[in-house]
């Protein structure tokens, strides 16, 4: 059992007035606190970086791995974003964990994985953990896969009630994570890599929200496409990738969203900044332990 959220909520006095306006709005007002900001990254720089790392590296790296590390490094800079709502209170997450959607090959459906303490991990470490989970899921060998299979066998009547009860508890109480199924709740940011080959150009993307309120933020990277831009008084063709951030005005305002997205964009467009981080689990555990003691 783990407690992904800190014990005490953010004091109301520290929540900006305008955010509280959304936070306390009655459901009858049908207020929509969703904010979406779209931008583009320099895909040529990111691709060149990934090609270079894949020339000499020990793990195949993709844009998804870069997106996770960039998001985690940005979250470290903006701790106020690493939080979620429980009822009408805001709780910070203890760790910088990133969740990612992936295609579960064996089940032919989407599933989630969680990269814990992603800001401490090198790209190779993140890549290794993701490949491990993708292969495990494809074979149906992981503990989570067995749990998913058991969950799937629950009759619809009970399934609906369990989901509703769990959703109610999760929305209103600071719950621990108990197992492999709900462990992915332990991160505020969900990343989606939709830059797969054959995907159509992405002009707009508004990801859904989960019924629980744990995934307050969603960051989606779209497919690469050429674009003509002006550089030094000349028109040149460059490759860009769209990047969309869905946020919640009860936690952040548009200025914070823009600043956060600007940092992620800068990291992905200047991917040399993604270097660093640890590969060995022992190093990561040591730093996590030391940070917890400090807190």
């Amino acid at each position: 059992m783990k407690w992904p959220l800190v014990r005490r909520p953010v004091p109301q006095s520290q929540v900006p007035l305008y955010n509280r306006f959304y936070l306390y709005a009655s459901s009858a007002s049908q207020v929509d606190p969703t904010l979406v900001w779209g931008t583009e990254i320099d895909a040529d720089a990111l691709q060149a970086f990934l090609h270079e790392r894949n020339r000499n590296g020990r793990i195949v790296l993709t844009a998804a791995h870069a997106l996770i590390r960039a998001t985690a490094l940005a979250l470290e800079q903006f701790p106020e974003i690493n939080a979620r709502l429980v009822g009408r209170r805001i709780y910070a997450f203890r760790d910088v964990n990133i969740r990612m959607a992936f295609f579960h090959r064996r089940n032919s459906e989407m599933d989630l994985l969680l990269i814990e303490n992603a800001h401490l991990k090198s790209l190779e470490r993140i890549g290794l953990e993701i490949w491990q989970r993708l292969l495990q899921a494809g074979r149906g060998e992981g503990g989570r896969d067995r749990d998913l299979a058991r969950f799937r066998r629950i009759p619809t009547f009970w399934f609906r009630r369990i989901v509703r009860l769990y959703g109610f508890l999760d929305r209103h109480f600071r719950l621990p994570t108990l197992g492999r199924l709900d462990g992915t709740r332990a991160g505020c940011m969900m990343v989606n890599d939709l830059s797969f080959s054959g995907a159509p150009p992405m002009r707009m993307y508004k990801p859904t929200r989960f019924p629980d309120k744990s995934d307050v933020f969603n960051l989606t990277l779209g497919p690469m496409e050429p674009k003509v831009v002006a550089r030094s008084d000349q028109f040149v063709s460059v490759n860009v990738m769209p990047l969309f951030l869905r946020a919640d005005h009860r936690l952040v305002d548009a200025q914070q969203v823009g600043r956060f997205l600007g940092v992620v964009r800068d990291l992905l467009s200047n991917p040399d900044k993604l270097a660093g981080g640890y590969f060995e689990s022992a190093d990561i555990d040591r730093i996590v332990e030391a940070t917890r003691k400090q807190k």
Binding site: Q47, I59, T62, L134
Partner: protein, 90 residues
């Protein structure tokens, strides 16, 4: 099961080329990583295609660029993991 290098290469080439019109021009020596043809979805599908067709299992630490750069590289890894009498050269 006897695996012929050429047949294995043809099988993997067919798998890659049938992925999308963009993949149709792939060749055995084409760098799949540099050209961006090998995304994570294709890589995972390719791994399981090999596993299901030839019984060769990849661990996550084998998902390294030198094993998956070209179809020729993948063929070499698959043949290298098969018991000796089964792997036949051209």
């Amino acid at each position: 099961m006897t695996i012929n290098r050429k047949k294995l290469e043809d099988n993997l080439m067919h798998f890659v080329r049938s992925r999308s019109p963009r993949h149709a021009a792939a060749s055995p020596r084409m760098d799949l990583l540099e050209t961006g043809l090998l995304d994570s979805l294709l890589l995972v599908d390719l791994i399981f295609h090999i596993e299901e067709s030839y019984g060769v299992r990849f661990d996550s630490d084998q998902v390294n660029p030198s094993n998956f750069r070209t179809v020729e590289d993948i063929v070499a890894v698959v043949l290298g993991q098969l018991p000796m009498p089964q792997a036949q050269a051209d």
